[in-house]
């Protein structure tokens, strides 16, 4: 089916067009027009993606070559797109969720001036464009282009309100953290180039035998470093919560649908390499788990509604990495999808809340919004249930699959994973309860303004809510329904190689039932506990103490980084600038000049102006010459 190849370029191209139109015409486009273009292009590319998806489902996967990006005797990098199950799936998620968020933004950002509005949408489009590049690229270089692109866009979007310096700092932090990851990614690519002379997926994956185990471990580790940067894992996760500085839809886009899943995508894409490097896999799994727990604990004590969601994202991402680490690639991808749904839903919901509260983000000043904004409330509840892993909501299936995989690998993983799930349920419903239940704790005029958001906002919420509910059903585990896991079947070709190498060890149905039971029960308990604890939450002045304080301050990680990394570098730079440069090197250079001047001043004293001295020196000269000539 050639027709896909002919149209596939549209998918990234349309957002690019949107970006250009909005970007260049920002001075003379009306808001509505901008909004239409902005979200229209995404919708269009979504439709194309759907088409592509189905043609892929029909078994038509291919690499489309456009032009040579770099083509020299020593290296060939084609500007190619790879269309297969994995990418097409991600295309759907990105463009689909992306579109909803665009639509949402048209109303959410309506207070902006036309200029900034256009700027905002152009950035959004650019963001989607680079994300699409990342996903569609047929080699690591193209992927890296998108990879850096999303980093840049997140920078631009987080710092969208660039008057505020904290926002700029947050943006900068995001970009630099990403750059650290990118460094790892780049090195990995260089390594591949050095060993295999190519960065094409196909050739790399077919030539894996050429690589020594050391190479593979190194490459995968570096790739994973890249992933931690993008997908906010330990140690590079701190940028993501700060990234809440951006407008809420942006947060939704970045954290739910697109950017953060890049790491997952990349590892899933290069699953063969990872499967061949068990050491790396272990690292991935452990880091993932650690992140999941850490983020969850922090989320317990956050009061900023977006911060809670942010940490929950981090923790969910941890889950996905756990999945990747234990070789449950399908599960990870599956979770990416479901997570995209409910997390987008939650963020947009939160956005709608904030919208209603007039920019207020502190949960302590909310409460009892249930009666003011019903749609938001319902959809939000569904989202919470989904993320808490309540059957039959989407989160349940994906999370359960990962946990099952973890258990198969090593029960300890499972236990920690379970704890995290427990906490997740707890803080999500703490959030829910503090926001929607109880009575309103905000200022009177805030209360006066409370209202349900307009359709442009609620519509995406509803869609996403539906997806959040049913999204999981494409991956019903074997135990419930034979051949129920359509996703796995669909993605089978991608992970085929890995499955050959490491056949995933199945666990008996009984254990599986038991595991599900336990996790659901645990989640339920946490849920109910949080529900009735926080539904009658009262503002209390007293400070957090002990562990609570530590959690509230996010384990002081930022401070730690500050004193361990930032300060030393700064002082080193100061040293170079003040001591090394000015005193030592320049000092030496000028020293030479000074030496010349000094010696000049001394030698000139030979010229005493007295004939006697002159002749004397001459005679000495004569003597020396004679001695050299006659006796040496």
């Amino acid at each position: 089916m050639n027709d896909t190849t002919q149209i596939v370029w549209l998918i990234p191209f349309l957002p690019l067009i949107g970006f250009l139109i909005n970007g260049l015409g920002r001075n003379n486009l009306s808001k509505t027009l901008t909004g239409l273009i902005g979200s229209g292009v995404i919708l269009a590319s979504f439709l194309v993606s759907v088409f592509v998806f189905f043609s892929v489902k029909g078994g038509n996967t291919q690499v489309v070559h456009y032009f040579d990006f770099i083509n020299t005797t020593s290296i060939k990098v084609g500007f190619d797109f790879q269309i297969d199950q994995l990418s097409s799936l991600f295309l759907l998620i990105i463009t689909g969720v992306g579109f909803l968020i665009h639509a949402y933004s048209t109303s959410y950002m309506h207070d902006e001036s036309p200029k900034d509005f256009a700027k905002y949408f152009s950035f959004l489009n650019l963001f989607v464009f680079s994300m699409l590049l990342l996903v569609m690229g047929a080699n690591y270089v193209i992927m890296f282009i998108g990879w850096e692109g999303v980093g840049l866009c997140s920078y631009l979007l987080i710092g969208y309100w660039f008057k505020n310096n904290d926002y700029n700092n947050a943006a900068k932090k995001a970009f630099i953290m990403n750059r650290i990851g990118d460094l790892g990614f780049l090195l990995a690519v260089f390594w591949l180039l050095a060993k295999l002379g190519t960065a094409d997926y196909h050739q790399v994956f077919t030539n894996t035998p050429k690589l020594t185990s050391f190479d593979i471990t190194g490459i995968t580790l570096l790739l994973f470093v890249g992933a931690t940067g993008k997908s906010a894992q330990i140690p590079l996760y701190t940028w993501l919560p700060d990234a809440m500085a951006g407008p809420t839809p942006v947060s939704a886009l970045i954290h739910a649908a697109t950017m953060v899943t890049a790491g997952i995508y990349m590892i899933a894409r290069s699953n063969i390499l990872f499967t061949m490097a068990p050491a790396t896999q272990a690292v991935v799994a452990i880091v993932g788990l650690a992140t999941a727990v850490l983020a969850a604990t922090i989320a317990l004590k956050q009061n900023d509604i977006k911060k809670v969601l942010a940490y929950s994202t981090v923790s969910q991402l941890g889950y996905m990495f756990l999945g990747l680490g234990v070789g449950a690639y399908t599960g990870a991808v599956f979770h990416v999808m479901t997570h995209a749904f409910f997390k987008a839903l939650l963020f947009l919901g939160a956005g709608s809340v904030i919208h209603a509260m007039g920019g207020e983000q502190d949960m302590r000043n909310m409460g009892g919004l249930k009666k003011y904004m019903s749609i938001t409330h319902i959809t939000f509840l569904l989202g919470c249930l989904a993320i808490a892993g309540m059957p039959p909501f989407s989160g349940f299936f994906s999370k359960d699959e990962i946990l099952a995989g973890a258990f198969a690998k090593n029960p300890v993983y499972w236990i920690i994973g379970f704890l995290t799930a427990f906490m997740t349920a707890f803080y999500m419903f703490r959030l829910y309860a503090m926001t929607f239940l109880g009575k309103f704790r905000g200022t009177p005029d805030q209360e006066h303004h409370l209202h349900e958001s307009p359709a442009a906002i609620t519509f995406p919420l509803i869609i996403l809510a539906i997806l959040a509910v049913i999204g999981g059903w494409i991956g019903i585990p074997e135990v419930f329904m034979h051949g129920g896991h359509r996703l796995e079947a669909f993605l089978e070709p991608i992970f085929a190689q890995s499955n050959i190498i490491a056949a995933k060890q199945d666990i008996s149905h009984t254990t599986e039932y038991m595991l599900m039971g336990i996790s659901v029960a645990g989640a339920l308990i946490a849920l109910l506990y949080a529900w009735n604890k926080f539904s009658k939450y009262q503002k209390s002045g007293q400070e957090e103490t002990g562990l609570g304080k530590v959690l509230a301050n996010k384990w002081y990680v930022d401070e730690l980084y500050g004193s361990l990394i930032v300060k030393p570098i700064q002082s080193l730079a100061t040293f170079c600038n003040n001591v090394m440069e000015k005193s030592i090197i320049d000092g030496f250079v000028n020293g030479v000049g000074k030496a010349v001047n000094y010696s000049s001043r001394q030698i000139r004293l030979l010229q005493s102006g007295q004939v006697g001295t002159y002749v004397l020196l001459m005679v000495f000269g004569i003597l020396i010459l004679f001695i050299i000539q006659l006796f040496l």
């Binding site: 990006f69 770099i70 850096e148 660039f162 090195l187």
Partner: protein, 492 residues
């Protein structure tokens, strides 16, 4: 006076030369600007032609010989190979850009200013074109002198001392190179009317035993290292960039810096392969140190010009390291990067100049919120700055990517260290953008106005070049294929 008909390379040298000399004698100052701009543009067209112009009279690309110092075996021979084309084009391209960008600046005694500018252009062209060692040295010095006067006459308040330091630095280096040239010359074989020859072919085919190569290498390398500049020899550079008038800084950093790299590729690599193989770790080590060192210092700079100066040191050091890997991948990267770096840094200077002209300061700490006043300028700057830190789809990415990849082939650890600069570069660049362009407007930046049309056009041109070269760099590779291939064969 030249036995043979004038070819493109000669036009490239002599047109700016003559134009420059004429400029000194123009009476009306108003005429000077337009005249020199016109001249620069014509030169640009000539160099356009030179890219497509092929000459089959001689095997060595375009070129011909005029027996200059007959009995010394030195001939006025110029020719264009791929690298020559690239760099002459860069030279020809940057001068009109510079002239237009600084069109609003007014200089006292402007005819001298523009005359010297054109002369320096002629000198640069000569450096990139000459295929005769002595001629090369000739132009090497000639390019220096006008710049020396430009800096000292129109520079900042500490200009005299600074530019003099710069002069002595480079002059000493080039004198050492002169010894090297003569020594190699004395090793070359007979020619019809002289017992040795300065021609490039003779130099490239001369056989030197390793021990000779080892010290000759340094005689040459120090000269080039100073020009580039490489880590311990760099201290002249930030001061000079800071003190010189921006137009000159553009020439210095955009084009002149390439002289050093060009010299290494054109002379050192072919002549002293053994020495290169011997000292590659040393040189690359120095370069890597330079990369990190300069990036670190850049973080601490408060003066925009110094910041860009240090970042430029970092970039050039990377190129130098890449060259000394003698890996094809890296060299191909260097070729395109030489061009990209020129374009980007000129762009940076233009923006800085615009900001300084309006606010009267270059101190990062004193600026802020420019983005509100001049959004277009800001967008341009952001693009250029991002190109400067080698973001994908900008011109610098391709080059740096390939250079790093090549360096990685040479040694994983050097790469790992050098690549840290990616992060550091992001740090100082973003700092700069944030402090200067974002944030609240203050009294200084309140006077900022949006940039004028011709400035928009120039910056637009640069930005477009950045993207074109970033998305489709293939033409550059095709252009410089021959040079790289020729070099690589010596290290196979």
């Amino acid at each position: 006076m030249f036995g043979n008909d004038i070819t493109i390379p000669h036009l490239l040298i002599f047109f700016p030369l003559v134009a420059g000399i004429i400029t000194f004698f123009i009476r009306k100052d108003s005429l000077v600007k337009s005249w020199s701009l016109l001249a620069a543009i014509i030169t640009l067209f000539i160099s356009f032609a030179s890219i497509y112009y092929r000459d089959n009279r001689e095997l060595s690309g375009l070129g011909f010989n005029y027996e200059w110092l007959k009995y010394m075996g030195c001939s006025f021979s110029v020719s264009l190979d791929g690298m020559g084309r690239l760099l002459t084009f860069l030279t020809a391209f940057s001068f009109p850009v510079i002239f237009i960008a600084t069109y609003r600046n007014s200089y006292k005694n402007s005819k001298a200013f523009y005359g010297l500018m054109l002369l320096s252009q002629a000198g640069l062209m000569g450096v990139f074109l000459s295929t005769d060692a002595l001629l090369f040295y000739f132009f090497w010095e000639l390019a220096l002198i006008p710049v020396y006067f430009l800096c000292s006459l129109w520079g900042g308040e500490k200009r005299i001392a600074t530019t003099f330091k710069f002069f002595i630095y480079t002059f000493t280096g080039s004198l050492l190179m002169l010894i090297g040239i003569i020594y190699v010359y004395l090793q070359t074989g007979k020619t019809p009317n002289s017992d040795h020859s300065f021609s490039m072919q003779a130099f490239h085919s001369v056989v030197l035993i390793p021990s000779q190569q080892n010290w000759l290498f340094w005689l040459f390398f120090i000269a080039f290292a100073v020009k580039m500049p490489i880590f311990p020899f760099h201290t002249w550079q930030p001061d000079t960039y800071e003190q010189s008038p921006t137009a000159v800084t553009m020439v210095l950093s955009g084009v002149m810096v390439k002289m050093g790299l060009f010299g290494v590729v054109r002379w050192i690599l072919p002549m002293f392969p053994a020495a290169v193989a011997k000292f590659d770790h040393l040189v690359i080590g120095l370069s890597v140190i330079g990369i990190i060192y300069a990036s670190l210092i850049a973080i601490k700079q408060d003066d925009l010009k110094r910041l860009v100066a240090y970042s430029s040191i970092a970039h050039v050091s990377l190129m130098c390291a890449a060259i000394f890997t003698t890996k094809q991948l890296a060299l191909e990267g260097v070729m395109i990067q030489m061009f990209s770096h020129g374009i980007n840094i000129i762009g940076m200077w233009i923006v800085i100049d615009l900001v300084e002209k309006q606010t009267g300061t270059r101190k990062i700490s004193q600026l802020g919120g420019v983005a509100h006043k001049a959004p277009v300028l800001t967008i341009m700057l952001v693009v250029i700055a991002l190109a400067n830190i080698a973001l994908p789809l900008t011109n610098a990415f391709v080059g740096e990517f390939m250079m790093f990849a090549g360096l990685f082939k040479f040694s994983m650890w050097y790469t790992a260290i050098a690549a840290l600069s990616i992060i550091l570069a992001a740090v100082y660049t973003l700092n700069m953008i944030q402090k200067v362009f974002y944030g609240e407007v203050n009294t200084l930046t309140n006077v900022m106005k949006e940039i004028s049309l011709n400035e928009k056009i120039i910056l637009g041109v640069i930005v477009i070049t950045i993207f074109v070269a970033g998305v489709y760099p293939q033409p550059f590779f095709n252009l410089t294929k021959d040079t790289v291939a020729a070099i690589i064969t010596r290290f196979k």
